[in-house]
């Protein structure tokens, strides 16, 4: 294929991990701010409904909202563990009913890339 000047270019990001954290409604903010302190750039939050193992808590299960917030954050794989742990601790996920967090490999991602960042990368190489 001929490299045409008119052709649009797309920068594909590799080494990306997706961290998904499901918490009770109202708890997403603290999870996101912990992730951002640990270096995450952005976050997507959406609302959902869901339950975990109800019998585990007995009557205490009324204290757990079935309304959930789902936090999704794309992170560089080198920092993924660090951010993942920060979110785990901020969300107090070692308490039953608080939620769940998981991380998946992303094959590739693409978004706006600042031109000066691309320049700097080219110089490094």
């Amino acid at each position: 294929m001929k490299n045409n000047d008119n052709m649009q270019t797309m920068t594909v990001l590799t080494d990306v991990c997706l961290i998904t954290c499901i918490v009770q409604r109202g708890s997403a903010d603290k999870v996101v701010s912990a992730a951002q302190d640990a270096g995450a750039h952005g976050a997507t939050i959406y609302y959902a409904q869901g339950t975990g193992e109800q019998q585990l808590l007995g009557v205490l299960s009324v204290a757990v909202e079935s309304e959930k917030e789902i936090v999704e954050i794309l992170v560089p794989s080198d920092y993924a563990n660090h951010i993942y742990e920060a979110m785990f601790i901020a969300g107090e996920l070692d308490t039953p009913g608080m939620g769940v967090i998981y991380m998946t490999q992303i094959e590739k991602a693409a978004t706006y890339m600042p031109p000066d960042v691309l320049m700097a990368l080219r110089e490094q190489a």
């Binding site: 109202g26 109800q54 019998q55 585990l56 808590l57 007995g58 009557v59 205490l60 299960s61 009324v62 204290a63 757990v64 080198d78 563990n81 660090h82 742990e85 785990f88 601790i89 107090e92 308490t95 039953p96 009913g97 608080m98």
Partner: protein
């Protein structure tokens, strides 16, 4: 010499930060399958972590609703009226009881009553024929009215009314109190039935508003002619505002939506609207009909005679259930238990369905009853006290009162301005903070595709309530007959309704019901009664009814304006397009 060991800083951080342990989910699953009871113990810290935010958010939610209002009233009394709060500790604990009671009640509603109501709403229309569904809907309307927390305020208000000045009003609030709530409930029940039918057939709301308001206004005119009956008008119109609270609205909506879903009508965004409107108009007619019945069966003299007679004898030793804490306990139980029993009967006998999560349902019902009792106590000692106190002080701003030193405090003209400004701000502020209004605003913004902004609706409703309460206070202060205010206001609302589109009609008439919650109603009711007795008015009702019609007119007006703006923009756009077409 020293030996160097190289560690990557990132590796160090990762290891120092948190210890990792990997387990296969397969193994966990196998262990759980083998032993169902495993893993049921909780650490203390877990319980704390679970319970602390649970209590905190719910407590703060109620604090946000109650504290600013109470603080506003208290500061007004101390700073503007220069008067100390009597029995401050009693009032303070009453306010705390209101917060606590409302918190428990709302939580109980969520776990106890709502799942039952939703279950019935969901499966009732599938299993029973329509007439049966409508009958149950009607009975449910009565049940929810009794369970409405603000209804208790009506009964408390009854004890302030002077029997010799307004005997029929006194009789309806005391001897006939149960029947009064029953007829309000019947009005709500009828509204649920008509609302459900409307939903099923997709009828427009407008004719219903005309048809429901016509008898209400005609009866008002008739009552106005009669010296005794005219004192009941305020109560009747206020009852409409009392009914649409935190129990009625969600339960009735759940039923309505269930019926609509079962009939295959995809629930349109408007499907929930309208029932609230009818539920605030029908009770007005019901209460006026009851007043007619009371006047036809008993004479004013008989009521006065009965009321003045037993007070001496009864004051000596009242049974425990008629003195303060006992009475609230009884009324709390009486408000909730019949509704629960009714819901249970419907669920078990007619639907033959099991209650899921029995423990949690029981927990919810217990909280409901407990919350209602504590709320009722708080109502008697906190909200009604404060409202009554402020209301009784208000006239001191512009006239001389025996109870207040150096009154009038501000001279006549300035004093009246102070009172009106106070009332306006009270209505405006209380409505602005209403969480239900925020939710309605959101619905409206989506419904109108953003042309009617959420903030516009909230401000319009708040301004409407502000003027409503201000006018209501003026009504009591200068003893203006309520009918003179209601008839023109509703005539204006009807006129605006005629010109508005169906959506705005639904939104506007429902917004009135949203504004009168369990905190505003007792406060405003008590304030009106206190004010009324301070200026020697016959009765202090009517503020709530003005606070209901205010937002209706305000929202309808704003709606027409928004529409007009949108049309104008569309015309401009069209003109530009034609110009462009001509140009090219």
């Amino acid at each position: 010499m020293m030996a160097y060991q190289k560690i990557r800083f990132a590796t160090f951080v990762q290891n120092a930060w948190i210890r990792h342990r990997s387990i296969s989910y397969n193994d966990v699953f196998k262990i759980k399958q083998a032993d169902q009871t495993i893993g049921l113990s909780l650490r203390k810290i877990d319980i704390y972590r679970l319970v602390q935010p649970y209590l905190q958010t719910r407590l703060l939610e109620q604090c946000r609703a109650v504290v600013p209002l109470v603080l506003y009233l208290a500061l007004f009394q101390i700073l503007v009226m220069h008067h100390q709060i009597d029995q401050i500790w009693l009032v303070l604990s009453g306010v705390l009881a209101v917060i606590l009671g409302l918190m428990l009640f709302m939580e109980g509603l969520k776990h106890g009553l709502m799942p039952l109501g939703e279950g019935i709403g969901h499966s009732l229309p599938r299993k029973l024929p329509l007439p049966m569904v409508l009958l149950i809907a009607f009975l449910l309307g009565i049940g929810v009215t009794f369970a409405e927390p603000a209804i208790g305020a009506l009964k408390t208000a009854g004890s302030i009314v002077d029997v010799t000045q307004a005997p029929y009003l006194y009789a309806m609030l005391n001897d006939w109190a149960g029947v009064l709530v029953m007829s309000v409930g019947a009005g709500v029940g009828l509204a649920v039935v008509t609302g459900t039918l409307r939903l099923l057939n997709g009828w427009s709301l407008k004719p219903f508003i005309y048809a429901a308001l016509a008898p209400a206004l005609l009866l008002t005119v008739y009552f106005m002619m009669d010296a005794e009956l005219s004192k009941v008008i305020g109560l009747a119109w206020d009852c409409g505002a009392v009914t649409t609270g935190p129990v009625t609205v969600p339960l009735v909506l759940a039923l309505g939506i269930g019926v609509a879903a079962a009939s295959g009508k995809a629930d349109s965004p408007l499907s929930g609207f309208g029932v609230v409107t009818l539920a605030s108009i029908f009770p007005i007619v019901a209460v006026m009909l009851l007043a007619l019945y009371v006047t036809s069966t008993t004479s004013a003299e008989a009521i006065i005679a009965i009321a003045s007679q037993p007070t001496i004898a009864a004051a000596v030793n009242l049974p425990w259930y008629e003195t303060s804490p006992g009475q609230e306990v009884i009324s709390g139980v009486r408000a909730i238990v019949p509704l629960i029993v009714f819901l249970m009967i419907v669920l078990k006998l007619f639907l033959r369905e099991r209650v899921h999560h029995v423990a949690i349902t029981v927990y919810g019902i217990t909280l409901c009853v407990l919350g209602m009792i504590i709320f009722n106590l708080g109502l008697t000692f906190g909200l009604v006290q404060i409202g009554d106190m402020v209301g009784a002080l208000l006239p001191a701003a512009f006239t001389g009162l025996d109870s207040v030193a150096n009154s009038p405090l501000y001279g006549f003209a300035l004093g009246v301005v102070v009172v009106v400004a106070f009332a306006w701000l009270l209505g405006f502020g209380a409505t602005l903070a209403e969480p239900a209004l925020n939710a309605l605003g959101q619905t409206v913004e989506t419904l109108t595709q953003g042309s009617f902004k959420k903030q516009t609706l909230i401000v319009a409703v708040s301004i409407g309530v502000g003027f409503g309460i201000a006018i209501g206070v003026l009504k009591i202060t200068f003893d203006i007959p309520l009918a003179y205010l209601l008839i023109p206001a509703y005539a204006a609302a009807l006129l605006l309704t005629y010109f508005s589109s169906e959506e705005f009609v639904n939104i506007a008439w429902d917004s009135a019901g949203v504004t009168t919650g369990p905190i505003t109603v007792p406060l405003v009711l008590a304030m009106g009664l206190g004010l009324g007795s301070a200026v020697n008015a016959v009765e202090g009702f009517g503020i709530l009814s003005m606070a209901s019609i205010g937002p209706i007119v305000a929202v309808l007006g704003t709606g027409l304006w928004v529409q007009w703006q949108a049309n104008k923009r569309q015309h401009l756009l069209d003109d530009e397009l034609t110009l462009q077409e001509n140009g090219t």
